[in-house]
Symmetry: C3
Subunit: 168 residues, 3 copies
């Protein structure tokens, strides 16, 4: 078990399994795309611990409260860490968080997107520490998000490239 | 003619010429920005085969149907391939699709952005195959898009760098 | 003083100090994230010359006019240049602008995002010239933005890496 995985256990955090899209929905893309030492991560929403999307849906500031939205961003971070762990083997390979793009399904006059996406950033900083977890960020308001999820976060991280030797 | 260009011909697909912005609009940026082996691609909307924006305008879920939006995403892919071909010489230089950011001009309760952007992803996978065409993706709902286009897609691809020799 | 700094002075432009977020708001991220020769820049909004957010708030096309929005994009560019200068020491280290993602807080039927974000692009091109200033761009409409700012711009630039010698 890696150091980051130990840290997650210490914090009482569990990563969900691969997201199950709603019935009939085809998602013809990968959640994590490794390009050398760059890792481009698709938009992730909040997942329940057992796989499906978390049951909180709608626009923040209309259907979803600020506190619920912060929790949704926290769950989106766990969803993303789950995808990264499955792709990378261990989260210890992440050498730096690069970019976080936090999208909040927003009622027209809701303007506290930074507070919402702090639910994502705070978890990343808590788990990875201030050096590795350090990231650039935008937190902005969308007209709507897939399936009515309240928060979606896209990201980029850098990783240690594993030398697989001359055969590969 | 490159292999990808042959594949397009085989599929009966034609790439449009450079987009003509509406009269009076100045677009002081490049549609394709090559940085070494990275290619950052500006947002592309649906184009008609002869150059101007396709005649479908408005919010998806209000003015534009789901099927029309999927077709708009398909046309945005052809527009982007046209820009890439003009800049790169041949689409065969693309070694991998990296990131697709699909933006749907969405009525507040429209939440099927993934189905819309599948019109883009499916074309890329069909033309480039599952290895080169593999990409990370977000598909999200915007309050509005330039000129009222229903779909806009931004992307990044990787390319084979042509060694121009010691003179260049 | 660098060449770009001289150019700014020649144009009568002054860069604002670090942005002061509204009281009680914590922003747990960095405005500029250097990764080798890549620099990922967080979303920047319009700042007043002395630090706080500029006093223009609301949706463009409803609360904010087109001209005011263009000026907001101009101020967002100055804000971003201020952040880059503090992080890089001098703006002369920028070798190319790579990507500009321009977000406009838009009333549902406002569709002139390109004209708004030209307030950003025109300044970059004026200061850095057509080669270094050349960038890919998207200019799109958001449902809302933090604190009600009318414009937010995220970007990526490339820089000259300073060799700090064998000790570092």
């Amino acid at each position: 078990m890696g150091h980051i995985e130990e840290r997650l256990t210490h914090l009482g955090l569990t990563l969900p399994p691969e997201v199950q899209p709603p019935p009939g929905v085809v998602l013809p893309f990968v959640f994590v795309n490794v390009q050398g030492d760059r890792v481009v991560v698709s938009g992730h929403g909040p997942q329940s611990a057992d796989g499906p999307l978390a049951p909180q849906f709608g626009q923040v500031g209309r259907d979803v409260s600020l506190d619920e939205a912060v929790e949704s961003a926290h769950l989106a971070a766990l969803s993303m860490l789950g995808s990264l762990q499955r792709e990378l083997g261990t989260l210890d390979r992440i050498t730096s968080w690069v970019r976080v793009f936090g999208m909040v399904n927003s009622a027209p006059d809701f303007d506290q997107q930074p507070t919402v996406i702090n639910g994502f950033s705070d978890l990343i900083l808590d788990v990875f520490g201030p050096e590795v977890g350090r990231h650039a960020r935008s937190a902005v308001g969308m007209a709507s998000l897939p399936f009515g999820i309240p928060v979606e976060v896209e990201a980029e991280v850098s990783i240690r490239v594993i030398n697989r030797g001359p055969q590969s």
